[in-house]
Symmetry: C2
Amino acid sequence: MSDSVATEISKRAAVAARAVAKLTTAEKNAVLQKMADAIRASEQDILAVNKKDLQQGKEKGLSDAMMDRLQLDSERVEGMATAIEEIIKLDDPVGERYPFTERPNGIKVEKMRIPLGVICMIYEARPNVTADAGSLCFKSGNAVILRCGREAIDTSKAIAKALHQALRESNLPEDVITVVPSPDRELMMELLKQDDYIDLVIPRGGEGLIHFVSDNSKIPVIQHYKGVCHLYVDKDADQEKALNILLNGKTQRTGVCNALEALLVHSDIAKEFLPKAAKALAEKNVKVHACKQSIQFFDGAEAIADDAFGEEYLALEIAVRTVADYDGAVEHIQDFGSGHTEVIISENQETVERFIREIDSAVTMANTSSRFSDGGQLGLGAEIGISTSKLHAYGPMGLQSLTTEKYVVTGTGQIRE
Amino acid sequence: MSDSVATEISKRAAVAARAVAKLTTAEKNAVLQKMADAIRASEQDILAVNKKDLQQGKEKGLSDAMMDRLQLDSERVEGMATAIEEIIKLDDPVGERYPFTERPNGIKVEKMRIPLGVICMIYEARPNVTADAGSLCFKSGNAVILRCGREAIDTSKAIAKALHQALRESNLPEDVITVVPSPDRELMMELLKQDDYIDLVIPRGGEGLIHFVSDNSKIPVIQHYKGVCHLYVDKDADQEKALNILLNGKTQRTGVCNALEALLVHSDIAKEFLPKAAKALAEKNVKVHACKQSIQFFDGAEAIADDAFGEEYLALEIAVRTVADYDGAVEHIQDFGSGHTEVIISENQETVERFIREIDSAVTMANTSSRFSDGGQLGLGAEIGISTSKLHAYGPMGLQSLTTEKYVVTGTGQIRE
């Protein structure tokens, strides 16, 4: 029986992965520079194909947001090239090696970081993911299969063509970076079964896509469903800081997973703080969904039932709840949080430390804005995704999340008695 | 709609997990000591129930191996108690905290280790797993759901009764450690869908069980299919060491995943080494499956085709292949290995280092026996399982594999511009 297209692609990627895994950091960086150069040199070709994708998108009636994600211009192409040059500067996690233990019989145990093998990225209309994910997976020693949405697939192929040129010039197989030949759902379904060859699937897109991929994959999937981020203003909060961070978290950008979706206020200071919060939120036209105790402070707020919290608004809307005390805030977050990011505002160091210990969200913050909860802002350099499930990676994922650790054991002839 | 039994169990475990996550190391150790004491005090009860399980097993015609795994005696009960006392001595990974970076705006980024939440162990006839897994999950701050096979479920419940007594005495909910009420497959299937409450599934048993669990789980599963461990004897090997390590790896114990299943010999030394290997293996009655170039050195060996390697014999049988050179050995391992454990024998430090870099098995060894490839031997203290897939954990899994890392971000009022 001949292999399916998905099996064929995956097998070839697995063989190519061996070649990438062997490269030194200097060798990988040289190839990455060639990739950046090739993208710059291919600008006209990439933009010409993108123009056609845009034309087709327009005919299909894509939303403005979708069209914006799809659209490339000279500046965005240059952005892809410089993003690759930023990845060159990042530390290479592969090969990191540190002592673990030495056993009484003299065998030495170490841990060593190695690539995962083959990563499959599944994304929708952002063609720049092709260059970003391609170069991040390459730097971390992996091969990658890129399954791009129908809208952007030709632009993605044009970008991949430039990356392939750099691979060929470096005597590496093109299978190191594969854009799937077609965006068909059947091909994607087949890819998700290639657990013999693919090590990790990273879907980037809406909750529907991520559920679909998780439900249909035999391969481990990085899950990132939603970001229902909470701000808890403690009784010992600096209320000025709290207001700034509330506004920044809710209004600096709304359609993102690290925007605030709920404000919890300690009952001791509710009467003092909530009128100030109401004024500030009203000035920014933020719609408020308030609990029974809070609603009196907000003009035109909508009432919200005690079991109806947990909404990801992704808009100028926020839920507000007065909690009895610190424990009430923790309980609310445990019941309604999504494991993404939570913030406490308090000048009481003891309360801050309790919050840090007791909240198990991927990014647990004190006295700063939830909007800093992403790979770039936290110093990871570049982000391949964010995980809100605790397995393998939790929170923003950088290069290290595309690797794993093995044991290295060396002896001088020891055998087991 | 009322919850299913599986949902009910999982929800309760998730609530109990919050209580365990909050405990300090000293508090957890005190509970563990109570568990060890309670197991000792319950010896007569546990053995009485085990006797009934054994009687039923006999009537059902369980294999000798299965009956041996199922059987407890005074010594084995004491073994469970002392195993828990060993876990008390292990370092608690939860709460470990280290600096990650400080950003130009002054926010401080740290990483902190936290429990996973709820672990589900699926195992067959070993009742001691109930105490081992129960106490390991507890020490790492998790709640655990134990789904034991039909043969051992009553013994497991008797053990859990002792553990519950220790939990009650410590004012902790019994839901911290749950043995499922029944070993029904339907209940297991339902448990595998509780991805809202269960964070990780660890199956322990044959390949069939692991495939079944992986194929039917919506929750991440630790996979450990098989151990096809290779010994590569390089041209620069100390042949005396090689022979010792070959015999130890193949014959010290055969039914285990870290036993050797294949010997690869560099063609330069095949003529010299293989006759010695043949003699040694014959003395131990090891059946040999040899390649075309090797078969001449073995009396009564069976021929094996070049594409038929990769068998996990779990018996006194071994595959032998002469490889052209070092690269041939690496290629063979990449084609036929299972990612578990591979060993090189060589006095050439450069070749050893290449092997360590280029082989991506979970435990990559030089000049020592594959039989050391387990948690206890590598100094992990206790082992909850072995992962042969690279996600989350790779190789023997200790306490740390039952935890994850979150980001801790602290500021002094910073907001994003």
